[in-house]
Symmetry: C2
Subunit: 358 residues, 2 copies
DNA sequence: CTGAAAGCGCTTACAG
DNA sequence: CTGAAAGCGCTTACAG
């Protein structure tokens, strides 16, 4: 099979060469639409139409062009198409992490929508860094994307400037924008933090600590929700907060548990800003012989797969991440297609999963 | 800042419009290199050189072009560049999963290499499906990539055909090719499976089971290594193997533990084809009151972060996934740059992590 | 060190 | 339903 493919290629090359003459050619050597058209005995633009708007072309032409495509092994040149049509069919997605299950699910949701169209996804990992985000956006803007999907509501001035200058439609994912002019899909991170803290208070916990890492906008919003609930209940105490800029991990959770306990030995619950930290904290408790939840309640955020299976299972907030990706991409497509969305802010909510650990 | 940016844009637009005249223009409206050149008072190609080969241009020209770029907010059009230069500066990466920590690390390693050059990564998630891989490759080939990074050694005939037809250099990741003409970076999955099984045998285990999911090439190679060791030791028994096509997960590991125990109640060790399954199996043991490793030894593969922290910690194989990505991308770059690699098969090895669970 | 011309491989109006 | 011409925004030889 591979062999016949090669021979077809070379026979075409010969024809092509003799036609063009042996003068310096800048051609790439790959089969062009012009070659397909010649093979099918139609003009280039008719061949183009047969491929892109087949309903505008006669059955005969469509069949002959299809045959030529197969025989010559034609692969359209996307760069040429993008240049001529001034439409890249590219959607850029910027996420702060690829190793985070949350953003994997978001990407999955986006992919599902994108797969139904002829879009190509340009995925960028900002690694929670403004500088990286600026760099990636600058690079990806060169590809003239039709739309952009961003994680989070707030971005650096440089990013805002690039975005404004490009005029490309943007949808923000994960949290809800206060400005209705900003398209956003997610849920209120602050409300979720508040809800979890209220849950702990209602279960009788009083010295509730908050452990936060990475300090990205979502962690900060969850912390704000925690603080609000603690203040309302008259339980607020700054010594109960431990915020570090390092990346979340199980190892960090284990370490922060120790630091928190040293800082506030009387704390009776720990709200971890995500499940990775919660898992690490629980494993550390197991190593230290601290009973969870009897001595210390521990809860997380995001409901990672392990949270339901661990012993004790982990109380956490389940987040609609797949839906976030799906709805954000759907919204973006609508805007790209020129439809004015009725709702500019899509709240997908969250669910408290009460389990054994808190 | 955003405001001043806008005003610059519009003032330029006016100039541009008046120059072009009000005839039907197909222009995108974005600043072109020609506009930059005009602003700097040089020809378009000199402006191009100032940007791409600054050393070939006078200091004065370089400065004037740089100024024009800033004033006009020029963003190069990648499609135009790709078309004119017949070089896309795109590298395609196809991985079977994005939610797997292993491939996240591989992508990280690739990114590190790619970031040092002006390459753009086109990341595709094949979801362990040949059909998806064919579709993605077909689409990505339209972008005329300079190189391709593939996961695994074997691919469908259609993929092989597309690859051969494109003439684009390919490096295979994760396992080692037997054919030296095929560029590969990874380690022997079979040897790793063999090594783990030998370890269990040497620790006195006799009824060693193998649990495999997904049944991708790597799982199959690990199973082959397991089988080889079991046969050599005269311990082989088909009832000790449980292979299912479903995707690996903690939940599946928990389920398969039950099925394995029902199938072979006398088994004294379970080699799980990856850590997700091992974690699920261990959690299930905790729920059933089965002592690990006393009653049943359980080991995994890949050394996920939780494996070192769980109680019991998990015996597993640590794999050089970041290095795989890094070395594969480095090798691919060398080939793209026309260097003939001295070694076509890079063995990065693996490490057995002996911990509490086995 | 700099430039006029041609061309990369497509699609877009405009005709017929 | 089909086609001749122009153009998208860059870079590549080739000169000077």
């Amino acid at each position: 099979m591979a062999k016949s493919y090669f021979s077809i290629c070379s026979s075409y090359s010969l024809k092509h060469m003799s036609k063009t003459g042996s003068t310096k050619s800048r051609a790439s050597g790959r089969t062009t639409l012009a070659a397909v058209a010649a093979h099918a005995g139609v003009s280039t633009m008719t061949a183009s139409r047969a491929l892109n708007q087949p309903e505008l072309v006669s059955d005969l032409v469509r069949a002959r062009v299809a045959l030529a495509v197969n025989v010559l092994g034609y692969v359209p040149n996307r760069a040429a198409r993008a240049l001529a049509s001034r439409q890249s069919n590219i959607i850029v997605v910027l996420v702060p992490s690829l190793s985070n299950v949350v953003f994997n699910a978001v990407l999955d949701g986006i992919q599902t929508v994108v797969d139904t169209a002829n879009y190509q996804l340009l995925i960028g990992n900002t690694r929670y860094s403004d500088a990286e985000e600026e760099k990636l956006l600058g690079t990806y803007l060169q590809s003239n994307p039709d739309g952009i999907l961003l994680s989070g509501l707030t971005h650096s001035p440089r990013v805002e400037q690039l975005l404004a200058g490009s005029g490309v439609p943007v949808v923000s994912m994960m949290d809800l924008a206060s400005d209705p002019a900003q398209l956003s899909v997610g849920f209120s991170q602050l409300d979720a933090g508040y809800t979890m803290t209220r849950y702990l208070i209602e279960r009788g916990r009083r010295r509730i600590a908050f452990i936060g890492a990475q300090l990205d906008e979502r962690t900060l919003a969850r912390a704000a929700g925690y603080r609000k609930a603690m203040q309302e209940a008259g339980l607020a105490d700054p010594r109960l907060e431990l915020m570090v800029p390092e990346a979340s991990s199980i190892a960090l959770g284990a370490e922060l548990l120790g630091r928190m306990l040293a800082k506030a030995p009387d704390c009776d619950a720990i709200f971890c800003c995500n499940d990775d930290l919660a898992h690490g904290a629980i494993y550390q408790c197991q190593r230290r012989g601290i009973a969870v939840p009897e001595q210390l309640a521990i809860c997380g955020f995001n409901d990672l797969p392990a949270s339901a299976w661990m012993k004790p299972s982990v109380t956490t907030i389940s987040t609609p991440r797949y839906q976030v990706g799906f709805e954000a991409a759907t919204l973006l497509r609508a805007v790209i297609d020129g439809r004015r969305p009725a709702v500019t802010r899509i709240d997908l909510g969250f669910t408290l999963m009460a389990r054994e650990s808190a």
